[in-house]
């Protein structure tokens, strides 16, 4: 039963990963990544780590992927050129990846970790459930826990600063198509800013 579940989840995870790499439309790539994350959650459950599986589904497949979907919808699906700018890039990438896979597998499987060939030791019933992880986080790993919360705050502020509007550089209506009516006269632009070549009424996501 466990082997069947493992191989189903492994096939799902691999198919999702290949879908992320191979699909042209970024929206479909995000959907493939969501399938991949759900398969990984099943694998985490098989490894008796219930809290990680729940966090994977809630945080990753729930929150982060929604952010991706929003940005894909905002930016639009940019058409990617099918040809290689560097000749033979795909061939070399495939070769490098193949050797990387062989090397990692050989390094792990030929290591001296004797417990790799086993199922792992028998663990108590509460292994990896939220209570155990919470105890670890708040007792043994308290400083990394707080540091990661500060890191999340910094990342949120940084994203707002990065993606926010710049009043000095964006002429009114050049950055977004919402405020373009009535303010697109040339004298309204600050000095030193060239007018945007694209028309302000260009729909968001139109191919450039």
């Amino acid at each position: 039963m466990e082997a069947v579940l493992f191989f189903l989840a492994a096939i799902g995870a691999t198919a999702g990963a290949i879908g992320v790499v191979a699909l042209r439309n970024p929206f479909y790539a995000v959907l493939a990544l969501i399938a991949h994350l759900f398969s990984l959650a099943v694998l985490f459950l098989l490894l008796t780590s219930a809290f990680i599986a729940a966090a994977q589904v809630v945080v990753y497949a729930g929150a982060v992927m929604v952010l991706y979907v929003f940005v894909v919808a905002y930016v639009g699906s940019a058409h990617e050129a099918k040809w290689d700018p560097v000749p033979g890039q795909r061939l070399f990438a495939g070769l490098l990846a193949f050797f990387l896979f062989v090397e990692i597998s050989a390094a792990v499987l030929s290591s001296a970790l004797k417990a790799l060939g086993t199922h792992g030791p028998d663990v108590p019933a509460g292994f990896g459930d939220p209570a155990a992880i919470g105890t670890l986080l708040l007792e043994k790993f308290l400083v990394p826990f707080e540091a990661s919360s500060i890191l999340l705050l910094i990342a949120a502020v940084g994203a707002i600063v990065l993606a926010g509007k710049r009043k000095s550089q964006n002429a009114p209506g050049a950055g977004d198509g919402v405020m373009s009516s009535g303010h697109s006269a040339p004298q309204a632009r600050p000095e030193g800013v060239t007018p945007a070549p694209a028309s302000p009424g260009q729909p968001v996501g139109a191919p450039k």
């Binding site: 082997a3 493992f6 492994a10 691999t14 990963a17 992320v20 790499v21 970024p26 790539a29 995000v30 990544l33 990984l40 694998l43 098989l46 490894l47 008796t48 780590s49 990680i52 966090a55 994977q56 990753y60 929150a63 982060v64 952010l67 991706y68 940005v71 930016v75 940019a78 990617e80 050129a81 990438a93 490098l96 990846a97 193949f98 990387l100 896979f101 597998s105 499987l109 970790l113 790799l116 060939g117 086993t118 199922h119 792992g120 028998d122 663990v123 292994f127 990896g128 992880i133 043994k140 790993f141 990394p144 990661s148 999340l152 990342a155 600063v161 990065l162 993606a163 950055g175 694209a198």
Partner: protein, 99 residues
């Protein structure tokens, strides 16, 4: 199931993510492939945690998820900023830092 199956699967997923980063040129898809690689690392961490029988490796996996969330937020903010300046969303065109 032996733990080594999980490790080999993790290596395979990491490799697929590496292929995506090497081949694709849209920065958004490159971020997605980076997620694949981080998740492969997560799978290896949890598998090793199960192998040792110690739940501390799962805390490592949680921290990796936090880092991945930060990286996604900053990366998507950069993509939105690039898009607002009407620059091409192509990593082969975005070679110079200025401009």
């Amino acid at each position: 199931m032996n733990i080594s199956w999980y490790i080999v699967l993790s290596a395979l997923l990491f490799t697929i993510g590496a292929i995506g980063i090497l081949v694709r040129r849209s920065p958004m898809v490159i971020l997605l492939c980076l997620e694949l690689m981080l998740n492969a690392g997560n799978l290896a961490l949890v598998a090793f945690s199960r192998e040792v029988g110690n739940a501390q490796g799962q805390v490592f996996a949680l921290v990796v998820m936090v880092i991945a969330a930060c990286e996604v937020v900053v990366g998507l903010g950069l993509i939105v900023a690039i898009f607002r300046r009407k620059l091409p969303l192509d990593v082969d065109d975005l070679r110079e830092l200025r401009g």
